[in-house]
Amino acid sequence: MSVTVGVVRFPGTNCDLDTLDALAELGARTVLLHSDETSLGSLDAVVIPGGFAHGDYLRTGAIARFSPIMDAVASFASAGGPIVGICNGFQVLTEAGLLPGALRPNAGLSFLCQPQQVVMASVNHVLGHGLSTSEVLHIPINHFEGNYVCDRLTLQRLREKGQVVMRYVGNPNGSLDDIAGICNEMGNVVGLMPHPERATSELLGSTDGCRLLEALLEAAASTRQVIDRRTA
């Protein structure tokens, strides 16, 4: 069953086309959504891709979160719709309050663009289908602000409720508890710094990104079934 995934483009987003291609290769119907749109239309999942939305001025994601489309994204999130924020998309989701915490400049003050190993910390979320906890994936990172921070209570809650999605192997950026990705309590909103859309072919050094994106498509299909059943 083919699902439809929307990919959001803000001014300054630059991973939108790679993400669309990667999802289309896996059999999804894809829709490019501009941040000025006020409705998502009929979608089964949303991806907020990487880049430098609004030039990352003020703070990463700080301006983007006030884009018209973000109200629709927030409603989709509260309805249980699968949403994934990759890199800058993760930063936008934290600024929007859809995920807890924030992302600060890397501890070494270097822009990091490198292959990265991550270990899955939980699978009860929209990127978990077909994966197992402790599984190691090779997914590249490409960021200056990937240093995840949150207060102690939030960290405790993330750990207790299985909301840490993945951790870095060999922390590259100073991230709290080696966190590379987290999800909300429902597990339908995930943010991660690594770029799955850049690990979709042996030519790119890894195909592990496909597994995460396939999991998203699976989650999108099952969420749609639930919604279809509800409205039938």
Binding site: L58, I63, F66, P100, A102, G108, V149, C150, G174
Partner: protein
């Protein structure tokens, strides 16, 4: 209404690591500036705000901080207000003295 020069200082919260501040602190020490500590790097946002009085100017600026200028998860803000001096009514330029 009067106009206010507003300075908003946004800085990383005390418990948040500030790698830029740490790097500058090390560089200052390397240059021989002894006794420098607690270096923090933030940003300064200056603007002019029209408001009835200082209290209103401050309250509007606080709302800007809450909604956009700072992220309370990682940043603290400090606001400084200064009334913009009313432009004095410029005297008519004196006619140049006829040269003799």
């Amino acid at each position: 209404m009067s106009r206010w020069d507003v300075l908003v200082e946004v800085s990383p919260r005390a418990e948040i690591a500030d790698p830029a501040g740490t790097t500058i602190e090390r560089a200052l020490a390397a240059l021989g500036f002894a006794g420098v500590g607690e270096v923090r790097v933030g940003k300064a946002i200056r603007m002019e705000v029209s408001a009835a009085d200082a209290a209103e100017a401050r309250s509007v600026t606080e709302q800007m901080c809450d909604r956009l200028l700072a992220n309370p998860v990682i940043e603290d803000t400090r606001i400084e207000l200064c009334a913009v001096a009313q432009e004095p009514i410029a005297p008519e330029p004196a006619a140049p003295e006829p040269s003799r």
